[in-house]
């Protein structure tokens, strides 16, 4: 159970406070409701590049990191296809420094050309390090446009290619800031050794004066229902053949979302799971096999991926995956198997309460979903799932005409 208090400033900024007196630390987490899905075709990778620029100084404070480190704090951020999340941890006594820094960069950035130049380079190196200079590193650059044809999930957060990052202009940066970085579009969570009354005063003082800005109304292109099987074959300098099969699955807020999460756990969580035992241990077709979900705010993906044992025929390996998928779509999982994945989910949730930053991030994310209180009833949704629901989800999902398959083959 993660307790919290909640209030909203006049400019629309939502604030949540989680009091945890057992730690001497505090966390300030701010989630902006903007991700790579909000980018335009041709200017992709921008939400993530922008996240880097948020550290390049703000209107009244030339350096973001330096004053924070000076008070014993640390920070980082991440961008996904759905959100951009920034967080600070610091000794609770110095919490006001976090309000000062975070509010100033919501007020306005410094928009320095030097910072834009440098961060373009840094992000291009990140692109190379994570996507180009790694075996199988570009899989998602290929798989996303195969699975999505109109929705902006067709590109990865890093962007479609290096050139779009290289071409980012200061005017784009300013426009992006104005459109997305305002109080109405953000959720602030303060956690740790703090008091709600104190947070209220600090929030009013530092964030209160920031103008509400214009409301961004998201209107993304809808993905049409998929009716035909899609495939793509890629040859690359990798040692092993690999296969990636994706299926469309419901969005995060759909009431069956949790069913799909458990479905992927039954197939692939740990060494007692079905795919691991059948395909890796018994049939010895794969050296690596996984199933997981993308947990996206819009229609998401259910992914099955594996690396084939050398010498195994791709058709045989692919057929073996489908046999397992058909099996779970045509017969009920046992009570023990279902209890097992529910117990595991419960454990994961309890263990995540050990970490202050995790708690703060979770509160922000569930507030974005509609209500932070959803975090505390999430487990009930999992515990209520039946074997029939698992089978039904598998049946409507695992169909050839709804699949997109990438064959990633080793050059001979």
């Amino acid at each position: 159970m993660v307790d919290f208090n909640r209030f909203t400033l006049a400019n629309g900024l939502k604030v949540l406070v989680h009091e945890d007196p057992t730690t001497p630390m505090a966390v300030l987490n701010i989630l902006y409701d903007v991700g790579a899905r909000d980018e335009e075709q041709g200017k992709t990778g921008f939400a993530h590049l922008f996240e880097h620029l948020m550290f390049g100084g703000s209107v009244n404070i030339p350096s973001y990191d330096e004053p924070l480190q000076r008070v014993g704090g640390e920070n980082n951020a991440f961008t996904s296809n759905d959100i951009t999340n920034y967080y600070i941890t610091l000794p609770a006594e110095n919490i006001e420094t976090a309000f000062w820094l975070e509010s100033d960069r919501m007020l306005s950035l410094a928009f320095s050309e030097k910072s834009l130049d440098t961060q373009r380079n840094v992000v291009m190196e990140e692109f190379k390090q994570r996507y180009l200079n790694q075996p199988y590193g570009d899989v998602w650059l290929k798989l996303r446009p195969l699975a999505y044809q109109t929705h902006p999930y067709q590109w990865a957060t890093i962007g479609q290619d290096l050139a779009q990052i290289e071409n980012a202009k200061m005017d784009d940066v300013k426009a992006f800031f104005k459109k997305h970085y305002n109080p109405q579009n953000a959720i602030l969570v303060v956690g740790g050794n703090v008091k709600t009354e104190e947070v209220k005063i600090l929030a009013e003082q530092w964030f209160g004066p920031i103008s509400a800005g214009d409301k961004y109304n998201r209107n993304l292109p809808k993905e049409l229902p998929q009716t035909e099987e899609r495939t793509l074959t890629v040859n690359a300098n990798v040692p092993l053949n690999a296969i990636y099969i994706t299926f469309k699955m419901p969005a995060r807020l759909d009431q069956t979302y949790q069913v799909y999460d458990l479905l992927s756990d039954i197939l692939s969580q740990g060494h007692s799971s079905r795919l691991y035992n059948s395909l890796l241990k018994e049939q010895k077709l794969f050296s690596d096999i996984n199933a997981y979900i993308s947990s996206s705010l819009d229609e998401g993906l259910f992914i099955v991926e594996g690396k084939l044992v050398a010498g195994v025929d791709m058709d045989v390996a692919e057929q073996a995956i489908w046999t397992e998928l058909k099996k779970i779509a045509t017969s009920l999982v046992s009570d023990d198997e279902l209890t097992k994945v529910k117990n595991k989910t419960e454990s994961v949730m309890v263990f995540s309460e050990m970490n202050l930053l995790d708690k703060a991030m979770n509160l922000a994310y569930y507030e974005l979903l509609g209500d932070a209180q959803l975090l505390n009833i999430e487990i009930d949704k999992y515990l209520a799932i039946t074997a029939e629901q698992i089978q039904e989800a598998a049946k409507i999902t695992f169909q050839k005409e709804k699949s997109s398959t990438l064959y990633y083959l080793a050059n001979a």
Partner: protein, 424 residues
Amino acid sequence: MLNRTLAPDFIQVNDINFIAPKAQQLANGIKVFTVNAGQQELVRIEFIFQNVNYDRAKPLQAVTVNSLINNGTKTLTAKEIAEKVDYYGAFLQTEYGADQTTITLHSLNKHLVSVLPIVWSIFNESIFPQQELDIFIQNQKQKLQVNLQKNDFLARKTFANAVFDNTAYGADITLEDYDALKRDDLVAYFKAAYKPENCTIIAAGKFEEKEFELLNQFFGKAWENHSPSTINQFSFNASSGEEIYIEKEDAVQSAIRMGNLTVNRKHQDFPKLQILNTLLGGYFGSRLMANIREDKGYTYGIGSGIASLKDAGYFFIATEVGTAVCSSALQEIEKEINTLKSDLVEEQELDLVRNYMLGSMLGSLENAFSHADKFKNLYFSGLDYSYYSKYIHTVKTITPEEIKVVANTYLDWNAMTKVIVGKK
């Protein structure tokens, strides 16, 4: 009127409280250290075994035993073990380290009584089935093939081998080493290493009298294994400054890893060296990051670190940089090292590092698990909590002159082993 150009007042971290564990023994003499703290009804129990009987001809013995220890006992198959552990929502992880091997159990308190017998069984009744070993060999070889195509992996492995030769710290593992694995060797290692006289238990979370009694009930009785063993001990020659270049024609980035042997946590200079390391490359605002990432944009990240092992310490710098700027990056790294040796650190920068390190130490003590981790650092280095008092005192009081002395004592560009994988 709010003045946003003025930083709010702040204070330097003063009180850092460590929770020392309670030391107890099971009926058979196994030492148990427990940090009982936290609200959640959960525990983490680590069973730690010293690595023993290292044989250069069989570098994968210990790690393979560790990986396969939960893959079959006299009464349970690998799948049955996994099913039972998973059914109770528990996590059983195996981790092979340079000096110790750890089996970690995470469990909710309510299921502890059900999962502890499974753990006991794998320590006492594991049989290392040949078919499990065959699958392991095949799949690990495939993983190694993939990893060998990653420049940073290759740089790390090559560096470790250059500094530590074919000891457990630097063994240059090849596909052939996997082929050479024999079941009999695994069983022999299992019998020598997984015995009560070689085991230390560290428990953290809601671990009270009841939980200790459970632990004693299952692990305080007689164990099966008692073969003789000698704890690994290694000695090394100082690095000679060789440069190893592995060319990768189609690389778009080069992985750089360089460094040298240095002192470990037991040495009195270690806290000073940690401060020096933080200045150079140990945090986001470090000199290497400020210059090579934030000013030049050559890389997504660069950092330095010091690792403390039982029989050695080592210092390293690691990064991946665009191939076109590889030589420039190396020059800048050299420049930053030499500046620390020639110029005094400004008080303003040093103060920032002091505060950052104290805040970081405070933040690293967030729950029962992290207090247990801090204890492990001490215990396996033969130190007590006065180490942390001294560390904190050193961070608060070190002078720019002392930093310069430490830099001149421990950093020498010419003596560093340098590995570059990619293009330069």
